[in-house]
Amino acid sequence: MRHSSIVRVGVALAASSLVLAACGGGGEETGGAPGGGASEAAATVKIGVLGDLTGENSGIVIPLRNAAQLAFEEYNATNPTTKIEMVEYDSQGVPEQATALAQQAINTDKIVGLVGPAFSGESRQVGPILEEAKIPSVSASATNPGLAQNGWKFWHRIVGNDLSQGGAVAEYMTRALGTKNAFVIHDNQEYSKGVADVVAKTLKENGVTVQTDVIDPQGSDYASTVNKVKAAAPDAIFYGGYYAQAGRLLKQLRDGGEKAQFLSGDGSLDKGLAKGAGGNNADGAIVSCPCLIDPTGKAGPASKKLADAYKAKFNTGTAIYSGEGYDAATAFIEAIKAGKTDTESINEYFKTIDVPGVTKQIKFAENGEPAASDVYVYLFKGDSYSLLGDAKEATKPA
């Protein structure tokens, strides 16, 4: 493991120096503009997007990056007095890499706000840096409950946390699925353990027998976990973690002859789950998410409008956190529309923001949490998934 972190830091350094070099060139250009013709060119502010854009779990982050890009482009197309330039930072989900990129975003690129960091682990590392530099951030996907308890003044998120999600999916398991005997697995990462622990705790409170096990996200052989599950003979399995491992685990469970209902959290809400599980192993898997993916407009016309625009631009449907990514970008757009173009005034504005977004009302509680959030459940079938409904109301799929 020690070797691993050295390798990763090495890669992080190499990658960040590359990005540094690349952005150094871009920086000069914008640096030159005010001297040349500041009066004619509209002012431009930079908003960063930080997350895993090419790594193993990038499938969760790319949709929100795309949606944010869409929101900024739509805004820029209205010829505002202050335009927004989006700058991407690919952390590959590695916290060490994310901190280096955050420093670069603050010191070199001078961003005024950040959409992200995408994952909880990197948020924990990057949070203090943003706090010190007074950069407001809105994450569309970091769901660890602990993030809101750091007293950070510049941190926000537009997605419900794992406490609400874990509780909701556990209630769904007992209410709709009639689970009596459950097996809860996670991969010991910050997000994964968080959501799995809440699920296990809530299930126990509802009188469900719960057994647990932990897998190694870097490992490929989950045979010991499969043996434990088979010995426990549960009627439902919940996995807290990301889709790459969820697919691998589900495949090995099904290959091993284990047929219990498989459930997972938002980290697994990606087509990669079906791909990793192989064949039709993922059919019937249920995945919860505090996010709303609703291309048909079941929950409201705004999500259909976003889905259509997204489809037109990226030639693919909206996916996990695209709605939340759009809303996070909208929060910054509203701030800049209101004439707040420096970091502190944007952050002040966030205290009072109250506008309708695609997934929910864009409004933050004092600790940076969204004022309201619902948890939805999705059903896998073939190589894709569809909305079952709000976890509070959804029934067992036929």
Partner: protein, 323 residues
């Protein structure tokens, strides 16, 4: 805890042997190169990775219409193994020519070769992540860091069932194939001229030269054989898990190296013993304490064994193996 362990004893044994067999095959590459050169070839984990990628590419190129079982499965596995042997063998020999031989010719220290090995390992990982995997599998958008899945091509079924003791065909095949390869290699090293040359070089390179052994040829052969074994392991891995990625060799390589040390590094039979023992320890440890303790248990046992037998379980090294 104990009850859980007893429930899982038989499945854990089967899984431990099947996991250990792959460790053992990869461990051979570490142990042979160490025996001959006293070099820990850290890039060997990538030699294994190349084997899995080559096997997967062959599989997707041929295309499997349906899941295979029985003779068809064995036939396909043989074909994949041959391709993987070539790919991994060439990679291993290439490493020797590019990363180690120039250093040796200039009298570089073993430490320099070790650093070169780590560099080669990183280079191959990133080369595959950035170029080779996206190109081979036409994944320009998702890139090469995501796992690449094979079409489901193995029909898994239990071949032996006795009460709660069941052995699945793919797990049995992994174990049998690995043991066969080991026996063949053992015979090869003990009975052929090339094998004698390898043993002579391991014992004393200077004297081997005086006796007319072409050391460079022996070293090339050693890398090729180690690579070939990693290739077989790669094909078996692909049958067992039906996916691979650029980083697949990392953890497995560490475990295989551990297995080599556990069995007695430099000792071929030690690699087999070390691999199987390590696989069993991991699975028993997971069954008893929980899967998160898998690595902890494995390394505690390693430390304990080395405290009492510093040269590993079998101790005796390649040079002293009797003909």
């Amino acid at each position: 805890m104990l009850e859980g362990f007893l429930n899982q004893f038989w499945p854990a044994t089967v899984d431990g042997l099947s996991l250990g067999a792959i460790y053992a095959l990869v461990a051979l590459g570490y142990t042979m190169v160490y025996g001959v050169l006293r070099l820990i070839n850290f890039a060997h984990s990538e030699v294994f990775m190349v084997g899995t990628v080559a096997a997967l590419f062959t599989l997707t190129t041929i295309g499997v219409p349906d899941q295979l079982g029985g003779v068809a499965l064995i036939g396909m596995l043989l074909l994949l193994a041959v391709v993987a042997i070539v790919a991994s063998g060439v990679t291993a020999v290439g490493l020797e020519y590019i990363a180690y031989r120039p250093l040796r010719k200039r009298g570089g220290s073993r430490l320099a070769a070790l650093i070169s090995a780590i560099g080669a390992s990183l280079f191959l990982q990133q080369l595959f992540a950035l170029i080779v995997i996206p190109q081979l599998f036409q994944l320009p958008q998702q890139g090469g860091r995501l796992p690449v899945q094979a079409p489901p091509w193995v029909r898994r079924s239990d071949v032996v069932t006795l009460g709660d003791f069941a052995v699945r065909n793919d797990k049995l095949l992994v174990l049998v194939a690995a043991v066969l390869m080991m026996v063949a290699l053992d015979q090869f090293v003990n009975r052929t001229n090339l094998g004698r040359g390898i043993r002579a070089t391991a014992q004393s390179p200077e004297n081997a030269v005086l006796m007319g052994v072409n050391i460079d040829r022996i070293i090339t052969a050693t890398f090729a054989i180690g690579g070939a074994m990693a290739g077989v392991a790669g094909a078996l891995y692909l049958m067992r898990f039906e996916e691979t990625n650029y980083f697949v060799g990392f953890l497995l390589g560490i475990k295989a190296f551990t297995a080599a040390v556990l069995g007695g590094i430099g000792n071929l039979r030690g690699a087999l013993v070390g691999g199987l023992v390590l696989g069993l320890i991991e699975m028993y440890g997971s069954a008893f304490f929980g899967s998160e303790w898998q690595h902890v248990v494995a390394f505690v046992v390693l430390v304990l064994v080395l405290m009492f037998r510093p040269t590993g379980i079998l101790g005796e090294s390649l040079q002293q193996a009797r003909a």
